[in-house]
C-alpha cells in the first residue's frame, strides 16, 4: 500500500520454457516494437531464451518477488518440474502460457507411448543412431571431476496445473501475440483481473462462432479426407466436406487464423469453456456424421481418419480424461 502511494514500481516479469519447441518464447518477441511498451512497464528478471540469468539467481529471489511468470512448455522431466515449483514460489501470478503448459500440447502426445519406448527409438533404433553399447541417458554419471547430473526423463508428460497451482491460462500454439499484449497491459495498468483459474486472452465461445464458412444441418459424410485429399471450395464448413476440423470443440480467440488460411482447426486453443475433454467431444460429434447404418461401411469410414488419436488429442492428451495410453 505504501509503495503504491509513492510511485508505481515497474512489474517484474519472467518467461520460462519447459518441454517446449521455443515457439512460445518467439511469440513473446512477436509483439515487435510493442516490446518497448512491455519493457517500459516491466523488468524482465528471468528469460532463458534471451537473458543470461541463472537458476541460482531465481533461487535467491524472495518469495512472490516476480509479479508475473509466463511458463510455456509441458512438464516432461525433473528440471521442468523443479523450475515450475520454484517459479510458483517466486511469483505472484503464474500463467500457463501456450498449449503445452495449458494442456500438455504436442509433447504430450508422448503419453501414447512410454519412456522406455521413446529411449529405445531415440537412442537405439533410429536410422541415424550408432549406439552399439546401447547407452541410455543416466541421471547421474561419475567422472574424475565429480558427478555429472542430468534431469530425470519422466514416463508421463504433464500440463503445468498437474504440477503446481496455475492462476491463468493463455492458450494457443503459440498464443496470438496480440492476446498476450492485451493481457499484459491489463496487468500493467492494474485492471481488475478475472478470477484465478480463468482462461485469458481467448473467447468463451468456439471457433465456429467466428468462422465465416457456411454451416448447415447437412453433416453427413461417407468418408473423411485429409486436407490434401480434397479440393476445398473455400466456403463450405470443413466438416461438411469430410475434413476433420476441431473448430466446434475449440475455444475461439486466435482469430480463426488456420481456417482463414483454408486449413482446418487443429485445436490448439483447447477446449471451449463448457467442454471437459475436447477429443472425446469431437469423437462423439464425428461419429454422428457418418452417413451409414451398416457396421462394415461405418468401420470403413472410420478407417479413413488418419491418426485419430493424434487428430483428436493433438494438444490435449495429458489434460484429457484419458491422460495417457495404458501400455
Amino acid at each position: 500500500m505504501k509503495e503504491e502511494t509513492v510511485q508505481k514500481p515497474k512489474l517484474k516479469l519472467a518467461v520460462y520454457w519447459g518441454a517446449a519447441c521455443g515457439g512460445c518464447c518467439v511469440s513473446v518477441l512477436d509483439v515487435h516494437e510493442k516490446l518497448l511498451d512491455v519493457i517500459a512497464a516491466a523488468d524482465l528478471v528471468f528469460w532463458p531464451i534471451a537473458l543470461d540469468t541463472k537458476y541460482k539467481d531465481v533461487e535467491a529471489m524472495p518469495d512472490k518477488y516476480i509479479d508475473v511468470t509466463l511458463y510455456n512448455g509441458a512438464v516432461r522431466n525433473s528440471e521442468n518440474e523443479h523450475i515450475a515449483k520454484l517459479l510458483r514460489k517466486k511469483s505472484k501470478v503464474l500463467v500457463a502460457y501456450g498449449s503445452c503448459a495449458h494442456l500438455g500440447g504436442i509433447p504430450g502426445l508422448a503419453n501414447f507411448t512410454t519412456k522406455e519406448a521413446i529411449f529405445k527409438r531415440v537412442y537405439e533404433t533410429s536410422e541415424s543412431t550408432v549406439n552399439p553399447d546401447k547407452i541410455l541417458p543416466q541421471t547421474h554419471f561419475e567422472v574424475d571431476e565429480g558427478i555429472l547430473e542430468l534431469p530425470e526423463f519422466y514416463n508421463d508428460v504433464r500440463s503445468l496445473n498437474q504440477v503446481v497451482d496455475v492462476d491463468y491460462y493463455l492458450p494457443g500454439c503459440p498464443p496470438q501475440s496480440e492476446r498476450l499484449l492485451e493481457v499484459f497491459m491489463l496487468i500493467a495498468t492494474g485492471a481488475t483481473l478475472p478470477p484465478p483459474g480463468s482462461v485469458v486472452g481467448a473467447s468463451e465461445k468456439t471457433q465456429c462462432d467466428e468462422c465465416k464458412r457456411v454451416k448447415t444441418e447437412n453433416k453427413k459424410v461417407k468418408r473423411f479426407y485429409r486436407p490434401i485429399d480434397i479440393k476445398d471450395d473455400g466456403v463450405t464448413c470443413f466438416l461438411e466436406q469430410g475434413v476433420i476440423c476441431m473448430g466446434p470443440a475449440t475455444r475461439a480467440g486466435c482469430g480463426v487464423r488456420c481456417i482463414e488460411g483454408n486449413a482446418p482447426c487443429r485445436g490448439c486453443y483447447g477446449p471451449a469453456e463448457a467442454v471437459i475433454d475436447p477429443g472425446a467431444k469431437m469423437l462423439s460429434a464425428i461419429a454422428t456424421m457418418i452417413d451409414s447404418n451398416d457396421e462394415k461401411e461405418i468401420e470403413k469410414a472410420v478407417e479413413t481418419i488418419d491418426d485419430p488419436a493424434g487428430t483428436f488429442y493433438r494438444f490435449s492428451l495429458p489434460a484429457s480424461i484419458l491422460r495417457r495410453a495404458l501400455v
Binding site: 462462432d209 444441418e217 470443440a249 475436447p278
Partner: protein, 577 residues
C-alpha cells in the same frame, strides 16, 4: 452450492440383496465417505417404514441429498423421489444405486459382490453431490384424440374415447373400416360370425356423434407434443383439413405375409395353393371348391408360413394355429367325407378356449403331422397323374423321422402377419420407434404395454405385435383409458430431465438436430443457435453427448454428474483393492 449432507440407505430387499451382499459392511464403509451424514440399512427400503426412515432423517439430520442402494431405478426410483417430495426435498436430489439386478442377482461370490456394492454406492454418493433441484412442468391437454387405423382395435379405441363424450378423429388409409377382420368368416375359438361382430362395431363407429371418420386418408406428419398435437390431412376428395388433438392412438395393424416368398410351396404357380386369407374369403362364399370347380377330396393345411423361420420372420404370428383348427372344423362340416391333413411345425393353441378347440378338432378324423420348420420344409409338387389329386406334399414327419407323401387337391397356407411397407413412415410421423420385426415398440413390455416413449402416443392391436381380436380390443380399451385419464386431468407433467442449449456457447453447427430422435431441436435462423423444445425432449442425452461445443447440457445427466460418478467408482475401487 450448499454443503451436501447425504443420507445413504442400503436395502436388503428381503434376502434378494442381503444374501449375496454384506449390507452391514457396505453401510459401514460408505459412512466414512465425505459428506455422508447418515448411513443405514433396512429390510425393505421401498416399504412404508423404509420411506418413513428417509423422511425422518431428512428432518432430523437436515439431509439435502439421498442415495438409496436397492433394485433397478426402473422399479423404485419414482417411489423414492415421491418420498423425498413428501419430506419437502426436491425429488431430483436423489440417486439410486442398483445393487440387486446389477450385483446380488448376477454374482455368486459374496465378498466380491459386497465390494462391488460398496463401489456402486460410492459412485452414487459422488454423483449426488452435483444433483440440482429440477422443477416439474405441465402442459394442458386438448381433449380431442387422433386414432390412426380403422381396424377392430382402432374402432374400439375410438368408441371407448367417444363414449366418454370426447371428440375422436379416426383416420383410415384404405377405403373402408374393418381392416383384416373384413376377410374373416368365423372367429376362433367359439366359431362366431365375424361379419356380425364387425357390423355392430362399424355401425356404432360410423353413427357416433363424437367420431369423425376419414377413409382413403393417411397421416403424413404430426407436429407438436402431448396435449397439443396438430396435423394436416388430405381427405378423400383431396381437401386439406387441419386437426388438433391431445393424444394419438396408433392402430395401423399388420398385413398377411406374402406366401410367394416360400419357393417350396409354389404359391402363385399352383392354382390350388391358397393363403389362409383367400380361404377365409372362400368360406364366406359358402362353398369349398378347387379352381376347376370341384369339391376337393384331399385338403392340406400347412402352418407357420413365413413365421418361426429365420429366413422370413423369426416370430410366431400367434393366431394362425387357432385359425387352422377353425378351418379344419369348417371343412369337416362342409365336406364330411374329405381327407384333412394338418401339417404343423408346432401346435400353439394357447389362449382361452383354444386348447379345447384343438382337443375337439383332433376328434374329427383329421390327420395332424409335424414337420421341421427350420431344417426341412415340406415341398409341394404337381402330381404326374393328371387325375385328382393333382398335388403331392413331400415332407419328413418329425416324430417318426419318416419321409411321407400327402395327396392334396387344395392346400391352405397359414400365412403369418408382417408389417406394412409404410410402417417407418407412420413411426416417423408420430415420433415412435420400430423393433427389428418392424413392430412399434411399447414403453415397457410389462409395466406400460400400450404407451410409447413419446408421451401422448399409444400403440394398440397388431401394429404392436401379432395378436388375436380379444387382445387387440383389450389393448384398444386400455389405451382409451390412458387417454381419458390425461384428458380428465386436463394437464400432464412432462419430462424435466431435458436438454438445454446455452445460446451463448452454441456455435450453430447443427449436429444435434441430426441426431435428435424426437425432432425436438430446431435451428433459430436469426440467433444462429439450436433450440430445444423441452416438451418434445425426452432427455435421452444424445444431443448432449454429440454437441462438440458443450453448449447442450442434459439436465440430471451433466458431464460433471456423470464424470464424478465414474470418479467415485474408480476411487473406491483403488481404495479397497
Amino acid at each position: 452450492m450448499e454443503e451436501p449432507r447425504i443420507g445413504v440407505y442400503i436395502c436388503w430387499c428381503g434376502t434378494n440383496i442381503a444374501k449375496m451382499v454384506d449390507v452391514e459392511q457396505v453401510t459401514e464403509q460408505v459412512s466414512k465417505l465425505p459428506h455422508v451424514v447418515v448411513s443405514k440399512n433396512y429390510k425393505y427400503m421401498c416399504s412404508d417404514p423404509g420411506q418413513e426412515l428417509i423422511a425422518c432423517d431428512i428432518q432430523e439430520h437436515k439431509l439435502n441429498r439421498i442415495v438409496v442402494a436397492a433394485c433397478s431405478p426402473r422399479i423404485h426410483e419414482l417411489t423414492f423421489r415421491r418420498a423425498l417430495e413428501k419430506a419437502g426435498l426436491n425429488a431430483y436430489l436423489f440417486e439410486m444405486a442398483n445393487i440387486r439386478e446389477q450385483d446380488s442377482w448376477v454374482h455368486d461370490n459374496r465378498e466380491e459382490a459386497t465390494r462391488k456394492a460398496i463401489e456402486l454406492v460410492a459412485a452414487s454418493i459422488s454423483r449426488v453431490k452435483y444433483h440440482e433441484p429440477l422443477d416439474k412442468r405441465s402442459v394442458t391437454i386438448n381433449p380431442a384424440t387422433l386414432v390412426i387405423g380403422g381396424g377392430v382395435a382402432g374402432m374400439s379405441a375410438a368408441l371407448e374415447v367417444a363414449n366418454a363424450g370426447r371428440e375422436v378423429y379416426l383416420v383410415e388409409k384404405s377405403d373402408r373400416l374393418g381392416g383384416l377382420v373384413n376377410h374373416l368368416d368365423l372367429t376362433y375359438p367359439y366359431l362366431y360370425d365375424a361379419g356380425s361382430m364387425l357390423e355392430t362395431l362399424l355401425r356404432r363407429t360410423l353413427n357416433h356423434p363424437h367420431i369423425k371418420v376419414f377413409c382413403d386418408t393417411t397421416v403424413e406428419k404430426v407436429d407438436g407434443f402431448i396435449g397439443n398435437f396438430t396435423t394436416t390431412i388430405l381427405t378423400e376428395n383431396q381437401q386439406p383439413v387441419t386437426l388438433t388433438f391431445g393424444n394419438i392412438i396408433v392402430s395401423t395393424g399388420l398385413k398377411p405375409f406374402d406366401a410367394s416368398r416360400v419357393g417350396e410351396y409354389g404359391y402363385g404357380r399352383l392354382p390350388d395353393v391358397l393363403t389362409s386369407v383367400e380361404f377365409e374369403d372362400m368360406l364366406r362364399s359358402g362353398q369349398i371348391l378347387t379352381r376347376s370347380g370341384k369339391p376337393p377330396q384331399n385338403i392340406a393345411i400347412i402352418h407357420c408360413v413365413g413365421s418361426r423361420n429365420t429366413e422370413f420372420h423369426e416370430y410366431c404370428s400367434r393366431t394362425c394355429c387357432q385359425v387352422a383348427l377353425k378351418f379344419a372344423n369348417q371343412i369337416r362340416t362342409l365336406l364330411p367325407d374329405s381327407n384333412i391333413f394338418d401339417l404343423y411345425a408346432d401346435m400353439r393353441a394357447f389362449g382361452k378356449g383354444c386348447e379345447e378347440l384343438y382337443t375337439e378338432t383332433s376328434r374329427k378324423n383329421i390327420t395332424f403331422m409335424m414337420f421341421d420348420q427350420q431344417k426341412e420344409m415340406p415341398q409341394i409338387i404337381r402330381s404326374i397323374d393328371p387325375a385328382d389329386p393333382h398335388m403331392l406334399i413331400f415332407f419328413r414327419e418329425k416324430i417318426s423321422g419318416l419321409g411321407l407323401e400327402v395327396p392334396a387337391d387344395l392346400i391352405i397356407l397359414m400365412v403369418g402377419m408382417e408389417a406394412h411397407e409404410d410402417v417407418k413412415d407412420v413411426a416417423h410421423a408420430v415420433g415412435i420407434s420400430v423393433c427389428g420385426n418392424q413392430f412399434f415398440i411399447e414403453k415397457h413390455p410389462k409395466l406400460d404395454p400400450v404407451a410409447t416413449t413419446t408421451a401422448g402416443v399409444y400403440i394398440v392391436g397388431n401394429c404392436q405385435g401379432p395378436k388375436g381380436i380379444p387382445d387387440a380390443i383389450s389393448q384398444a380399451k386400455a389405451a382409451a383409458a390412458r387417454v381419458l385419464a390425461t384428458i380428465n386431468q386436463g394437464s400432464v407433467f412432462v419430462e424435466v430431465t431435458t436438454a438445454q442449449v446455452n445460446e451463448a456457447i452454441c456455435c450453430g453447427c447443427q449436429t444435434c438436430i441430426l441426431v435428435c430422435p424426437y425432432s425436438a431441436i430446431h435451428f433459430d435462423q436469426n440467433k444462429r443457435v439450436s433450440v430445444v423444445n423441452e416438451v418434445l425432449c425426452k432427455g435421452c442425452g444424445t444431443c448432449g453427448s454429440t454437441c462438440p461445443t458443450g453448449a447442450i447440457r442434459s439436465k440430471h445427466f451433466t458431464d460433471q454428474q456423470i464424470l464424478s460418478q465414474i470418479a467415485g467408482l474408480m476411487e473406491m475401487t483403488l481404495k479397497i483393492n
